[in-house]
Every structure is written in structure tokens, then in C-alpha cells.
Symmetry: none
Subunit: 194 residues, 4 copies
DNA sequence: TATGAATGAGTTTTCATTCAT
DNA sequence: GATGAATGAAAACTCATTCAT
């Protein structure tokens, strides 16, 4: 019977993801990753040419996961509000990963790793596109007002992220139901008192 | 009379702000700032103890400017929608500076410079508080639905930033009127077709 | 009967020799040798304790071959000029190997692997001694001027290498006849026009 | 009065040259150079982008010095033998530096730093060209036999180096007079006893 | 006061060698 | 035996900070 051959590649990726998320790209040292992963520093270099490539691997992984989520079609018979809720429900499960992606994206964009930007943009496009598709459908069916689907989807995503992953220091963390309730209020009904 | 004694402090701050905005905190070197500012590297250290202090100075400046804006009271007789527009109008003039603040905040948060977080949070609190105050007033007057003013203000801000400063690669830049139109649609009326 | 048990030791030695010659000692990695030899990296270590030992093995091989050549006595009845030509003729066949030896010797001397120096020196001594013996004989017989046989042999060897193995970027490669012709001109007759 | 401002650049270059000469390119570490030069490691990088550039600087210096020597014209009225002696006399003063150049050249050629090869080749060309010019003149004047000046010069140089700088482990060091005596014997008169 | 050359701690990266399979 | 994944010591290089001028 196998002696659980410890997947070092996975260990490295997970340690790196954790460290990147916690400390950011620049502040994460290869030593740190190695130690966290419980492997030798050299081991990392057997899998990845350099720090940047390791970073890109992580980004790709995130993108792939999010893409996969985005590709699952929703039950078409549902009304938009419900579909949006389902989309959000799905997004909720990914909000941490997405938060990581966005966070790293931000930093690496600053640092100017141009290769990483593409991946990043692809990621945002995947998620925004995912929402946009459903926004468009709903608009086509007259369920919601006609609007620029991409822009609307983008702003929706930002709203969503504002309610979930980010800045918990400015408001207490909300659970799924609360997030959805706020979202519905803000987006479907509007704040106008009438 | 002095031969225009070039305000070196100002030059340093401006160069630093520009460089931080363009390249981020970590990727901005003191050499770069000095060169951009047209002063010797050592000069920077006559004004600021270290890179972090320089960074904080810039953050403080932003906060002060934004606070100042926030402190100008609005004409109280206006209806909420108009007041919100005026708030947004004012914010619009600061969007670039605010974008810098947010960007740097993000990076420095990642990097884990804990001292900087305070400033950051103060900044966000100032702006969010500014909006929240008006949200609360409007809710009190029954102009809008009752809601958590802080949270609503926070999400509003994010919406606003999504429409203006950020991610111009995902949608074309919008002018002030477009931003306000979208904002009104999303926030006041809601997307529900009825 | 064995399925041609591929002589891994030989393969390693040949790959190493080729790589050492092409890239030098330091720039040759064990990975490279293993790949070139078509064996696993670990295999090399079943034959040789470390890189240096592998290097020494190659040097020894060269020395042995050259010694063997040096030990074949020449027909004593020949005049010195002819004998010298025969010596050169033999050397010509070894010039590539000798070039390798000299090249590696040079580098490893720099690097300061003292153990390798001995081998090196033995090699040069073998070849120089080979020539020197014949120089001495010729001088004894009055065929050539009396001279320090070792030094003369050494300079002869250098001349020979200059004409053959080295620096083909400074002059076009010469074939065996040309080499011998030049050699004779330079060494036997002198440049003096009379 | 100046406090002897210690020319660090020179110190670095000298330490590097010494270390490169003693240990070779690969085996010389930047730490070593720094320590030898009595400066901080970073200081080296204020003068040279990287190790290779430092190496090239040293090579350039050697080339320049040798070029300068080569450019001094000789008294044209002298007979070739005397001129050759003068050339050799001059070379003798540079033999150490030249030895360094050749040694490093050898190693770096192995290592395959293509940029350095050029410099190297230029160096050899400078010196060979210098000798070749005088060989050609002498041949034109009928002082020596007609011969390929470049090739002859090249072989002469090798002979010279064999007599001076290299391989003192194979023969005792020769002083200037001895070198010239041998050189004359070998090159002008030939070994032929008559 | 202003400067920038000098510094070295802290990073990333390489590669000979080991050892479990 | 043969293997190559794993290792870490050692090397190159970066950059915030200092300090003599």
C-alpha cells in the first residue's frame, strides 16, 4: 500500500497561495513558501522556473476554477431574480478565492507583471461575462430594464464583493441570506422610497 | 530676494505620489522618487524618516483633502437625489486621488504595513461617513428607504468607483453625466422593470 | 543472452567528455551529462563519487591514450626531421583529445582543483617528454643544434597546437601537410632569409 | 587637503582582476571581490551592472593597455631581428597582464559568454596584428622569408607565451635575455644544425 | 542643508549530491 | 542497480538607509 506520496507540487501551490493571499506577492519570500509547504527551497524550482511563474500558476488555477463555475448553466426557467440569487449563491462559495485573485491582481498590476495582467483580465471577464449573460437574458425577457449588460454586470460584481469579501473592517461580515437581501434591495427595488 | 528656493518637500511628495500611483508602493524605489523630484536621495530623508513615513504623508494629504471636501455641508434643503448627485459631483473631482488612495491602500494592506492601515481606514471612513450622513438624513426624511447608512454608503462608494476610476479596460470611460445617470438608475430606481 | 546491456559507464564518460569540451568544467552540469548520456543522474554517482572524480577519470583516460602513443618507439634509424614529422603525424590524430585536455586543464587549474593538476601535469609531461626524448636523441646525433630538450619540446608542442587545434578564428584550419610544412619552416630552417 | 578619497572603482577592479586571475571567473564570488577590495558588496554593483560587466571592464582595460603598446611605433630603421626583440621586450612587460587576459579568455570562452569573446578576439587580434605588421615589413624588405604574416605572428606569440608566462611548472622561469635568446634561436636560425 | 556613494541584510536562483523507490 | 525528485548551501543581485562631504 502506498505511503501517501505527499504531492509536493500541490503543497507548494497551496502554501504559495496562502502566503500570497496573506502577505502579498512581494512580501512573500520563496523561503517562506518552502517552509510553509514543508519542502526544500530548491523543490519549488523543480516545478516552477521562478517566483513569477509560480504566481501565474496560482492565478491560472483560480481562473480555471472560476471559469468552470461560470460554465455551469443555470436552470433557464427561473425568473431573473432567482437566477441572480443562484449566481450569487455560487459566487459566494468562491468569494474567498475571488478575493485572493482580486487582491493579487491588484498588487501585481502595480508591480507591472504584464503577463499576469492578461490572466487577471481574463478572470474578471469570465466572471463579469457570466453575470452579463444572465443580465442580458433577463433584459431580453423584459424581466429587468434594458441596460448595458457588461457594465451592469461589472457594477453588480463590485457590489457583491463590497458586501462579502472586502473590507470587513467597515461593516460586520454578512451571511449569505443578508447578502442576498441587501443585493435584492439595492439592485432590484432601488432605494427610492416609493 | 531668494532665487525661488524650490519647495523640495513639495517636489518630493508629488514625485512620490505619482510614482506610488504608477508603480505601486513596493515597486517604487527611493532612487526613482529622488530622480523624479529632481532632488538628491538623501534630501528625502531630511523630510521623512523612511519610505513608510513618506507614504503616510501622502495618505494623510489625501485624507485631509477628502475630509475637507466632506466637511463642506451641502445645502440642506435639496432633495436626497440632488444631494447625492452633488456629493458624487464633488467626489468626481477627487476620483483620481481617491483611486490612488484605494490602490495604495490595497497594496499596502497586502504588504502588511500595519501603520498604514489606520490612515487608510480613516480615509475610507471619512468618505463613507460623508455619504452615510446624507443617506441617513434622507432616510430620516423618508426620501429613501430605511437602511443601514454605513453599509449602504460603502456599497454606493464601490458602485461609484466601479463606474469611474477603476477598470477602464472593462468598459469605456464614462463622463460625469453618464456616471450620474447610471448611478441614479441602479440606486434609486432599481432594475426591476416595473 | 543479455539484451545488449548498454555500457552505461562508457556512455557517461563520453557524454561528460563531450560536454566538458564544449562548455567547460564549471558550466557542465551533472543533469546535462546525464541527459546526454541517456542515463539517470543518479547513475553517474554509481560510477563516480562526484563531479571531480568523473573529470579525473576523463583526464586519466586521455593521459593513458597519450602515454600509449608516446610509448610506441619510433624507428630509430630515421633522421630527426622525419622522426619529428612522424611524431607530429601521431600527435595530429590526438590533437582533438589533446585540445580537450589542455582546455580542461586550463580551466580546472584556474578553479583550483589541486588533485586535477597532477593529472594534468602528468599529461603534459608525458607528451612533452615524448617529444623531448627525440629532441635529445637528435641533438646527441648532431642532427640538430644542442638545446634544452624539455624546453624545446614544450615550445614545439605549443607551436604545434597553435597550428592545429586552437584559435581557428584567427587563421583558417590547416591540413596535415600544411601543418608539417609550416612546422618545418619555422623550426628547422628558421625565418632568416639566408 | 584631500583625505585621499580612496578610489573604490579602482579597488574593485584591482581586486576583481587579482581574484579572476587567481581563481578564475566562476570561482570568483562577488563577496570575495568585495572583501578583497575592502568595500561593500553593493558598491560593486554601483559601478558594474553584474559580474559579467565587471569582467568585461577588466578585459577592456587589458585590451586598451595592450592596444596602446601596439600603437607605439617602432624605430623603422632597425633590422627585423632587433625590432622583433623590441616587440618582445615590450610584450615582456605586459606578459602578466596578457597572461591574465589569455587565462580568463580561455575560461570564459568555455563558459560561453559570447560578449566576452569579442573582446578577447579583439585583444588577440590587436597583439597578433601588431606583430604581423612587423613580420610583413620584414618580409617585404627581404629580411626574412616570405610567409603568412598573421599565421606567423600568431605562432610567434604562442612561442613567446610558452617561454614566458605559461606553465612555469614545466620549465624554470626565464629572464628576458634568455627568452630573447631562445626566441632568436628557434625563430631566426632554425634548429637545423647547419 | 543637500547630496549620492557606500552599505549589507535580505532576496531570488543554481546545482552537486543524496536517497527512497 | 538505476533512477530522478528533493534538497540546501552557496552564489548573484536589490534597495532602503546612512553619513562624510
Amino acid at each position: 500500500m502506498e505511503r501517501k506520496p505527499v504531492d509536493r507540487r500541490r503543497q507548494v501551490i497551496e502554501a504559495a497561495a496562502r502566503s500570497f493571499q496573506t502577505f502579498g506577492y512581494k512580501a512573500t519570500t520563496m523561503d517562506q513558501i518552502a517552509k510553509l509547504a514543508g519542502v526544500g527551497k530548491g523543490t519549488i524550482y523543480t516545478f516552477f522556473t521562478n517566483k513569477e511563474e509560480l504566481f501565474e500558476e496560482i492565478m491560472s488555477g483560480l481562473i480555471a476554477e472560476l471559469k468552470e463555475m461560470a460554465d455551469k448553466t443555470l436552470r433557464p426557467e427561473l425568473p431573473f431574480t432567482d437566477k441572480l440569487m443562484e449566481v450569487l449563491h455560487r459566487l459566494y462559495d468562491y468569494r474567498e478565492k475571488h478575493a485572493l485573485a482580486v487582491k493579487l491582481a491588484q498588487e501585481v498590476r502595480d508591480i507591472g507583471t504584464p503577463m499576469a495582467r492578461e490572466g487577471l483580465d481574463k478572470l474578471e471577464l469570465a466572471v463579469v461575462g457570466y453575470i452579463a449573460r444572465h443580465v442580458k437574458e433577463a433584459a431580453d425577457k423584459g424581466e429587468i430594464k434594458r441596460c448595458d449588460p457588461e457594465l451592469t454586470a461589472y457594477v453588480m460584481l463590485k457590489t457583491y464583493l463590497a458586501l462579502t469579501a472586502e473590507s470587513h473592517h467597515l461593516h460586520k461580515p454578512l451571511n449569505q441570506e443578508e447578502v442576498q437581501a441587501y443585493f435584492r434591495t439595492y439592485w432590484m427595488e432601488g432605494l427610492a422610497s416609493r
